[in-house]
């Protein structure tokens, strides 16, 4: 009797534990969905996008990750474009300039967050697009074989946004009025109106994507290491033995970047030799200098930084030969790009493609310091002379043509036992010999701190920080235990601007566009209609209106409609 009761207690506890563990893993997971203005582009054109980050438990926009990644890769899985975006309240929108140099072909666009690296890559959102090089006259590339879409019904009792146009056929350069309605709750959607391409595309809608999300325990591959990037980009790396590639646990890795202020942050490697650092907006677009602190002379360690865009899974699309129809469409698209470039007509305006971000500088010191400007004194040929003549608290000694430095401790007026921390142009350099050749002609400012300094849990016995006149740090060669990498900029892009053809200065120029409208942030109300308007161009074609988004209740909504643009002047003449 007692055994049976004990058994029930343990069984009950096990069930409660299992259920609650599932909830925890679900509560810390998210997925992305990338919406693009269309599916076929010409090199040199702009891709307008909206990236959603969705919490898979609530199915609402996730507020966790603030950094997202968009990777373009070709049919051989080679990355061709890497874009990092800032996410605010689960959404990011902007534009990406496609390089002119991309070869014609099919491309995969993969979107994910750093936090999603804890799960299998197969859960990353993917889109397939076609990019044509406008200088490619043959266009003999292959397309993805188009599958027939399944008619599987959505699990969501979705309400579909009703798209109403004031007409079904429009003339060129005519105003189009569109009204969206029919939702049960408020929603935020992106609307794209673009020429119907002659190339079939199987990209999933937001409804299909969210519908297909499942959380299985087996999917979680590295739950602990990849933290959500809720305060900015997290850079990850490893310290290892250069030759044997044996991991180095518990090493201290320092990071600084060129600046007028000495700056430093650090991380310690874990038992697997891995480390991670938060590189916020302050580091955006800057050179990052990593150094292993206090590497033993007998050792030969190196730092390896993880590529945040690296995908291990290969993309192997089933390809079929290009069709005549698609070639005709791509030639037309190429011509339109050529004409618009000639007349300098485009739809993007206003915002810079790179955000001017100001982040928090992790300053090494924030206190009064002894500052020396060598230009105020007689010119001295190198740092050795400067130290002797102008820096009474710095002692240099030379052994076998190798210099070493000590700072005199101001508290007890005797030299420290260890070498001071040396900073050049804000960057930690672990060797005085790297600055010894710099004289008054190249040094702008020298700051000396003659006390035992602390930064977090790292202590330096004095600090010497020099600022050069022409950023000498960028010309210096990193030491063997150092690594210099360029941090990417956050992509922001420009807004899509609707052009009124009647407001053009020269109304006689051809006005041809394939994307008539793009709005990544349209609010749909549950109570009334949401109206907007735009103009058709001289491009006569069938156009698709695509609306995709998510309601306040976390229900994905997706809808599309079509209309036609014809040239009434020509048709009347005919």
């Amino acid at each position: 009797m007692f055994l049976r009761k004990t058994y029930y207690i343990f069984l009950f506890q096990f069930i409660v534990f299992a259920l609650s563990t599932m909830n925890v893993s679900a509560a810390t997971d998210e997925r992305t969905f990338l919406q693009m203005d269309r599916t076929v582009y010409v090199g040199g054109e702009t891709v307008f996008y909206k990236l959603y980050v969705i919490d898979i438990t609530t199915r609402k926009r996730s507020d966790l990750s603030k950094t997202g990644y968009i990777l373009f890769r070709d049919a051989n899985s080679n990355p061709v474009l890497k874009i990092r975006v800032n996410i605010q309240r689960g959404v990011s929108s902007g534009c990406i300039e496609l390089p002119d140099t991309l070869s014609s072909g099919v491309y995969q666009v993969v979107s994910f967050t750093g936090f999603m690296r804890n799960i299998d890559e197969e859960h990353f959102d993917t889109k397939e697009i076609v990019i044509a090089n406008r200088f490619d006259k043959d266009l003999n590339f292959k397309l993805i074989s188009s599958d027939v879409k399944s008619d599987k019904k959505s699990n969501f009792s979705t309400t579909v946004p009703v798209i109403k146009t004031d007409k079904t056929v429009y003339s060129t350069r005519e105003k189009v009025r569109i009204s969206l309605s029919g939702l049960n709750s408020n929603a935020n959607v992106a609307v794209s109106i673009y020429e119907e391409p002659a190339i079939i595309n199987n990209n999933k809608s937001i409804v299909e994507t969210i519908d297909g999300i499942s959380v299985e325990k087996a999917d979680i591959i590295s739950k602990n290491f990849y933290l959500p990037e809720s305060r900015g980009k997290i850079i990850r790396g490893r310290v290892m033995e250069k030759t044997t590639l044996k991991i180095v646990p518990y090493a201290t890795v320092l990071l600084s970047t060129p600046d007028t202020l000495a700056n430093l942050q650090y991380a310690r490697t874990d038992s697997e030799g891995r480390f991670q650092m938060l590189v916020g907006d302050y580091y955006s677009g800057k050179d990052l200098f990593f150094t292993i602190k206090d590497m033993p002379f007998s050792q030969n360690w190196k730092i390896e930084i993880e590529d945040e865009f690296l995908l291990t899974g290969k993309w192997k699309p089933a390809l079929i030969p290009n069709t005549i129809n698609s070639k005709v469409y791509l030639i037309k698209s190429g011509n339109i790009v050529y004409i618009n470039k000639s007349y300098q007509l485009n739809n993007e305006h206003n915002k810079d493609s790179v955000l001017n971000l100001k982040g928090i500088c992790p300053q090494v010191y924030n206190c009064p310091v002894n500052t020396v400007y060598p230009a105020d004194f007689v010119s001295l040929k190198d740092f050795r002379e400067i130290a002797v003549e102008l820096l009474p608290r710095v002692l240099l000694s030379n052994q076998n043509n190798k210099y070493s430095a000590r700072v005199i401790n101001a508290a007890i007026s005797s030299p420290f036992q260890q070498a001071p921390a040396i900073f050049m142009d804000g960057v930690f350099v672990d060797d005085i010999n790297k600055i010894i050749s710099l004289g008054s002609d190249r040094i702008k400012k020298i700051e000396v701190l003659s006390s035992e300094r602390i930064i977090g849990d790292i202590v330096f016995q004095g600090i010497i920080s020099i600022t050069t006149k022409s950023n000498e740090i960028l010309k210096s060669k990193p030491a063997s235990n150092s690594l210099r990498v360029k941090n990417d900029n956050v992509n922001r892009g420009k807004d899509f601007v609707i052009i009124n053809p009647y407001a053009l200065k020269n109304k006689k120029i051809p006005y041809l566009i394939q994307v008539l409208y793009w709005n990544p942030d349209l609010q749909l109300s549950s109570t009334g209609n949401t109206d907007f308007e735009f103009y058709t161009s001289d491009n006569t074609a069938d156009f698709i209106i695509r609306v995709e988004g998510i309601t306040e209740d976390g229900i994905p909504v997706s809808s599309s409609s079509t209309f036609k643009v014809i040239n009434r002047v020509n048709s009347t003449n005919k």
Binding site: K5, F17, A27, T28, P228, L278, N366, A411, I454, V459
Partner: protein
Amino acid sequence: MKKFLFILILLVSSMLNAQTNSMNEIIDSNKTDTVFHANLTGEAFIEYRGFKGDQYYFNDWVKSDILLSTGEKLYDIKLKYNGLLDEVIWLNTVIPGLFKIDKASINDFWLKPAFDNDIHFKRIKVNESPNSHQADIFAQVAVEGKISLYIHRKINILEVQTITLDGKLYPYKIIGPTPNYYIKMSSNKYFLMTSLNRNSLLKLFPEQKKLIAKILNTHHLNLKIESDLIKLIGLLNNADFQEK
């Protein structure tokens, strides 16, 4: 009784499970903040002990929070406020050692004694005397509003005595609190009160003498008592008190 005990065990076990998991969720979502926190910067501090009297606001290490000038916040670090030097001293338990935190890097700090309310200090820029230049000081926040009251918990050398030890004479400094009171008006102007009395306050606001006197009489406040000055500033915030 047995049934009751059985149900009780089930309930307690499920509640414990639920608690553990909700804790996990909190740790997960805040893990980024706990892993990537800001670093304090400062210099090694050697305490001078040749004083008679307390040089710290609390003599014991107190768990404290710091708001840095970068806007980042650090929690539960062991601090002491040294009123003699007007500096914040940090006990680093990892290295270990005492460090004087760079003053300019601190905006606010909160000493959180286990037995009392949190004490909030703020770095303010004031003239410590009418003829001095503006300087950064740490002052205790007593009242914040249209009119604010900050108390600079200054410790000064009150007297120097000499003692004989092994036949030698040694100077011996007696230190004690000499607080300064800074009243900040809505125009960001600070008024300094070096001593607590009715006259020194009324001298600062001659045009508001009547109003201040009325409040002091109505509420039976004695301006020789610090807590009554704090009450008065609180009441002035509610009254129609204007700087002239």
